[in-house]
């Protein structure tokens, strides 16, 4: 097995010296799909911010051994901004480019390839703001691909997507992992996460980490979500959240 893409050892994260997430202890091999589960306020975004280097661990260590990029929630992106899908994808090429250099033809080609990979070749010239939520999400993924990031973070990417876009994003995640990308996805969907390679359950502390079969037991989910668990019929050991628990944060 290759060296791990992310290694956490006794890591605690927080703001202004106050810990909001501790007990982080995991190793993520490259090319895996990792579901990061937890209630609102559980620390998912905080973990991502630490992985991106925006905040540093209060204790322990959090090591990221590969280039990393994030796909922020599309709710937050600006729809009134005068850019095309291709323009947004090209932005990814700025990663690792010295400040006096401007993206040129090679970067544009890389961005076009990234758009092709997420299935948006036809929308390359469309205004970003005119695209659907699912398409915008994929444009942001293309931007991360243009940045040639080996680790992709997606913070609640399924929020607000319709069923078709959701299925499409899920197969894109599978495809990215097959081509060697490590994808960490913050999500509320326990059932979805159970189809990925690894899960990390957070609720202000690390509740569990491992393959979904092992790490998604009912006690774990109860500790993660504080008892609001219903069983998936026929799978008594695998709980899911009641539907009303899904909301934007």
């Amino acid at each position: 097995m290759d060296a791990a893409a992310v290694i956490a050892a006794h890591a605690a994260l927080g703001y202004g010296g106050k810990s909001v997430l501790d007990g982080l202890e995991f190793e993520i091999p490259p090319g895996s799909r990792v579901g990061v589960l937890g209630p609102n306020g559980g620390g998912k975004t905080t973990l991502f911010r630490a992985l991106l280097g925006e905040i540093s661990p209060l204790a322990g260590s959090l090591e990221v051994t590969a280039s990393i990029s994030t796909v922020a929630q599309t709710d937050r992106s600006r729809l009134d901004y005068p850019v095309s899908a291709l323009d947004v994808a090209v932005m990814g090429s700025l990663a690792g480019m010295p400040w006096w250099k401007r993206p040129g033809r090679a970067e544009k080609r890389r961005a076009s390839e990234a758009l092709e990979k997420v299935g948006l070749t036809e929308q390359a010239k469309s205004s970003f703001g005119d695209l659907s939520g699912g398409q915008r999400q994929r444009v942001l993924i293309a931007r991360a691909l243009t940045a040639e990031a080996e680790i992709l973070l997606m913070d609640e990417p399924f929020t607000g997507l319709d069923n078709k876009s959701e299925a499409r994003l899920e197969s894109l995640i599978d495809e990215l992992a097959r081509s060697g990308q490590t994808v960490m996805i913050a999500t509320h969907e326990v059932e979805q996460a159970s189809r990925w390679d690894l899960v990390l359950c957070l609720n202000r502390t690390q509740i569990s980490f491992g393959r979904p079969e092992e790490a998604l037991s009912k006690p774990v989910l109860e500790a993660t979500y504080g008892g609001h668990i219903v069983e998936i019929p026929g799978q008594p050991d695998l709980g899911v959240l009641p539907a009303h628990h899904h909301h934007h944060d």
């Binding site: 600006r78 009134d80 005068p82 932005m91 205004s127 931007r143």
Partner: protein, 280 residues
């Protein structure tokens, strides 16, 4: 008709004014696009008005306007940054208080018995009084602004689109916002002699805001913005020459007209084609 167009050019003052407004219009329109996209219109106006005491101080002490303006901008920027640190809940109000105070201070100074005549030029500018050395100074300030905008275009675009992506892309959002504000300060300095303290904000915000209404791509937006600024400059100077009104005010009036026409055009286009992308 030909005479109407050529008569003004017989005067060196009009020609110099045209050159000055061309430089200022190009820089203002280009920087203005970033002011609009970074939603910094309010900060830009605050900077422009906040430097007033610096201008008046320079006039009182007999120092170059540019020097007074630079000191005024630094003072205004420092004060705005300071109050914003402490009043994070209501930054706009805090900024407004600072700017009003500074502007009032400038007016008090201007009303003092020692103030030299012609201080109203600081408020409304003296476009037709532009000297050769002022043109050279404007060009010298304008050139690096344009070069920086060209060089950092992609980074400005990326951060304006998504502040959060900055760190992953190796671009500091704070640095980019600071850069836009610094370029605003330089543009205000270039423009304050010609358009005055009250009107200089118009050239920063007017053309870009009008252009934004008519296109949803950055490149055409910037080109339209520059065209609008040059048009307003040209028309304003001719109108001022023939109608014998203040040049700066005529230019500002033309900027407002262009904005209103653009707003009307975008409203009509939206009604007939349902083009939501024309929205701000």
């Amino acid at each position: 008709m030909i005479d109407w167009l050529t008569d003004p050019l017989a005067f060196g003052a009009t020609t110099r004014a045209l050159i000055e407004i061309a430089i200022l219009g190009t820089v203002g329109a280009a920087v203005g696009c970033w002011v609009i996209l970074y939603r910094l219109s309010y900060s830009a106006e605050s900077l422009a008005h906040g430097l007033f005491p610096g201008l008046v101080g320079a006039a009182l002490l007999g120092l170059p306007i540019l020097l007074g303006g630079a000191a005024g901008v630094l003072l205004a920027a420092a004060l705005i940054a300071l109050v914003n640190r402490f009043a994070t809940d209501d930054a706009d109000t805090a900024t407004a208080v600072v700017v009003t105070t500074l502007f009032g201070l400038g007016v008090l100074l201007a009303l003092s018995p020692e103030s030299p005549p012609g201080i109203s030029e600081l408020l409304f500018g003296d476009l037709l009084g532009t000297t050769d050395s002022e043109i050279i100074a404007s060009a010298a300030f304008a050139a690096p602004v344009i070069v920086l905008l060209w060089l950092l275009h992609s980074r400005l675009l990326a951060v304006g689109f998504d502040q959060g992506s900055g760190p992953a892309l190796g671009v500091s959002p704070g640095l980019m916002t600071g850069l836009v504000l610094s370029l605003v300060a330089v543009t205000v300095l270039i423009g304050v002699q010609a358009l005055g303290n009250l009107l200089v904000a118009a050239i920063l915000v007017g053309p870009a805001a009008a252009a934004r209404l008519l296109t949803d791509r950055f490149r055409p937006m910037m080109m339209l913005s520059v065209v609008f600024a040059l048009l307003a400059g040209l028309a304003g100077i001719y109108i001022s020459f023939h109608a014998k009104i203040a040049a700066g005010a005529a230019v500002a009036g033309c900027l407002v007209m262009i904005y209103l026409l653009a707003a009307a055009a975008s409203a009509v286009a939206e009604r007939s084609f349902g083009r939501t992308s024309l929205n701000q």
